[in-house]
Symmetry: D3
Subunit: 159 residues, 6 copies
């Protein structure tokens, strides 16, 4: 049973204890992209998809999911988010929609996961609203682009 | 107020009525990839991340999220999933982890969104477990690779 | 301690056991009304509310809430809803919006509560989206108008 | 694709950013009424409904729902409620039950929606507990009666 | 990186695939006990606890939690429960309350976890309602006493 | 109808109003035990259970459940937990696993229920992961062992 203590030391899952961190204003911005067929993009922008207004549905889903990040991501802390925003930037040249998600809180821990979750669920919702027409859509390059607040200060991802 | 009826006809959001669809065995497989620094990948595989066993946590999070797809994606139907599976394939040459998610049901509607949600939340969880070491990770190309069951038969995405 | 058995017999809360009921197609339709100032109604219909598209947000919220009825109403059974629909009918003469909610399932128990919950949460959402402009809105007369399926057959509420 | 930017400007759904609002003690009180047949009211008050103690079940459901308001109403903020209360006032002359809901928080935004949600879900629960006996019940006039806290000070709805 | 494949084979978490199991009527009964000071028991039975009707609140909480078992227990399947029941049997000689939980479904997998979850959350709720008076209560011996349905037939735990 | 006011006074369920309590650092520790067959314990420690890594799954489930305590226990307040921890101590002499759960918050109310919920759901998850091999496991003596913070100061349960 030596295995057990080994497991406990090596792989033991843990939540970070943020009790002693300062409450500061924290913000994070994440982006991602959903690539699709040009016809799909045109239908979305014309609100001609049979399931209805794709982007407002995705925006609402992204905002609601950000509020549930702590429920989805096992080691995330519950947070009283003060703001979530989801924006869409259609790019006809690449036949895709860029999705930007932003989360804000006055809290003890950062909101990167909330911003990334907003983008992910907004992308999944667009996929769901359009999948009868285009099953080959792909969610591309979801990543953090900026965060500030907390001890580590500002982070900017140039990538 | 002509705008209103216009809205109602054009952008009106709707759930597909699946009452008259047949209950068949349905399966969907989705994949995605999380790219990271080589050191991050090595730490994950060695279970040396301070937050613990990254991949089992992500697997559990992906499975649990698949069960909540109907709660996250506004127009999805609640489903009694019979199986969800999440697998990880580390690729050292590209310094990434390929994530494969699979969902299955005996139901009236497909489980693409459940498979895609499992992959997305597993990827987000890996991100969360490693973000103190690597904030520049990116979630890449989440897409459906195969589905079967229902009227439309089998779909295979070669892309 | 005679009180206890008394309580148990009189007030004991119980879920109906539907194990032996037949799975039939069941549908329910509920309606309600949100009354407001004429200016509020005009702003909603012009999509001029600062919080955005009020009715699509309320429609999505109503549909999502119907799926959570079993979570909100203690003695409701979880159900695999096959369809939920929320419609809005603005009435300028009464300065109100009539909200109609419909739920459908192939199940062992009716979906009245799902239809009523869809209407209630859609109404609450309209309230939320407009409350900065009009705090005196009122949710009026939410009731069941029709149900069918199950042993009791069709019910029509003329009221 | 001019439609898109139009949509974005006109109907774009947004959550209010409360990051810069002050944390103050906030309270809201909402009321509503459930009208029913006199026999139904008598059975509720005698705890003679077959599903059990109607009012305590509804009280609990209303309190629990208030805590989930942010999950139900898309643009609501998550809040650490410090108190929720639901009270019932039977009115034999009108054969109805008046429901009063109150929510309190030390937060950056008001709790009107929490009070209104408590009343709505309490009413829905009474409906559910009694619907086998009385399908024609109606939820009447749910509205805000009072709020205080925050920049706008006190609001009293005489209506 | 040999560790990884090792992990995958040894500790890989998995949900049982129940797709090919038969839908049968399944039932499970679990029991547990909450021991407390005699005064606490007397106050519960007299409904004299300041937080109110302890047992009805616990009953409702247990029933609601059973419906959420799939959300709490990572590898559980979502199920359309047809019945959940929670009963209390005060035992003055041992100064405790025996809690019995029962769950039922027509499904592909058993409902032991649902019955056990109902008992656990009912016990936790009694604890919560009485903890200001008695912090030393203990939840004792929650276990499965009986199940039937499915391939394994009937199980009876004499223990 | 005298019954009603009687009910209201005696059994009326209520949430404690914590609006005027101080925000202090609060911590609670609970323990419990899961007893099982010696073979079951050996398989858990060897990670040889067919469902995979039992203890990490249970740890994650316990942590996630603690965050949902307010959703499960009707009169609990929502809290921004700053830390949750679940630990396992296998005891081969008694063929059991001792489970320790800890919760922490800077808040207006204690986190006993969060610690107790973490232990309970961790125990249920171990049960679920092992039940195909051992249906006679029992959850034993879940109780609070220590709490501090708030007006009542420190509590230590020697029991």
């Amino acid at each position: 049973m030596a295995d057990f203590s080994h497991l406990d030391e090596k792989g033991r899952v843990q939540m970070v204890d943020v009790s002693d961190k300062k409450t500061t204003d924290r913000l994070a911005i994440a982006v991602g992209k959903l690539s699709m067929k040009p016809d799909t993009l045109a239908s979305i922008l014309d609100q001609a998809m049979p399931k209805g207004n794709v982007l407002e549905t995705a925006r609402i889903a992204g905002i609601m999911a950000a509020k549930k990040t702590w429920e989805l991501i096992p080691m995330c802390h519950p947070l009283e988010l003060t703001h979530v925003q989801v924006d869409f930037f259609p790019e006809t040249e690449t036949s895709s929609i860029r999705i930007e998600g932003q989360a804000r809180v006055a809290g003890r821990t950062g909101v990167e996961m909330e911003a990334l979750t907003a983008v992910s669920v907004a992308a999944l919702t667009i996929y769901d609203m359009c999948k009868s027409a285009d099953k080959a859509m792909a969610i591309e390059k979801i990543h953090l682009v900026r965060k500030y607040g907390g001890k580590s200060g500002e982070f900017v991802n140039e990538g």
